[in-house]
Symmetry: C2
Subunit: 160 residues, 2 copies
């Protein structure tokens, strides 16, 4: 029988991530700047799925000396996304949220009341997706799944 698990572990060390990033930059003739490092670090240290605006806000709080512009955040996120170091998620809400792509693949279950996102992965569904894709004649590249519901916390809140 297959296992599904609440998925919260980082699967990569920050040091490794940083050196990957530096290598990526070098390989493309790009420069390693403080702003880029801070953005990566914030993404790494945040448990949340961040919006560009939220990320910018966080950076202004923790590294106000840099006075980082929102445009740089957008530019760096695009860069990271194109390099497949981060993944963007667009759920119903407007705007995208970003997460580090360095984690293993996983799906999301989103609370419609508090917007909290729980991650999980289920082998049975994963393998079934592959079967279906093949049957429909597609070559699978990626997939994503979201379940929307009300989390335990919010269920209890409502009862009171």
């Amino acid at each position: 029988m297959s296992a599904y698990t609440e998925f919260t572990e980082r699967t990569i060390e920050y040091t490794k991530l940083l050196s990957d990033f530096k290598q990526l930059l070098k390989a493309n003739g790009l420069k390693f700047t403080i702003q880029r490092e801070v953005i990566l670090e914030m993404l790494y240290n945040s448990d949340e799925h961040l919006t560009p605006e939220g990320l910018h806000h966080l950076i202004q709080q923790k590294h106000s000396e840099l006075n980082t512009g929102i445009a740089t955040v957008y530019r760096t996120l695009s860069l990271l996304e194109n390099s497949e170091m981060v993944t963007s998620l667009s759920f119903g809400a407007q705007g995208k949220k970003y997460e580090l792509g360095a984690k293993d693949h996983h799906d999301h279950i989103i609370c419609t009341q508090c917007s909290h996102i729980t991650e999980f992965v289920d082998e049975q569904i994963e393998s079934r997706q592959k079967e279906i894709t093949k049957s429909l004649g597609f070559v699978m590249q990626e997939h994503s799944m979201q379940i929307y519901g009300i989390c335990k916390n919010c269920q209890e809140k409502t009862k009171k």
Copy 2:
């Protein structure tokens, strides 16, 4: 064993849909206008998942005499979405696409080359989703799944 099927059938007649819509409007003290009818009709007759802009364009072509404004399209789509008569999808691309919610639940497989969307439904995945949600302590409201890949057509194109 469970079945997955390419999902293309309408499960509702237009007449029924229209009368549901009229009833919805009446129940909320809203008016039935030609613009609203045309928007519903376009959504019904289109096999595509339409963007607001695409829908507007289509209406201008087929019913140029109405000179329908894009704002009306947005307003009607919101109305229909809030009433759960249409569902909005937001895949990676910017902007939302809309589809009639009158069909049964189904998932999407999207070609990353031609953007064509194929719909399917799989009982095994559906039931597994319910199990997982329950185990994580959530009350499930909805869910959506997207697979991204390259469709048969585009695979052949690339070979040539």
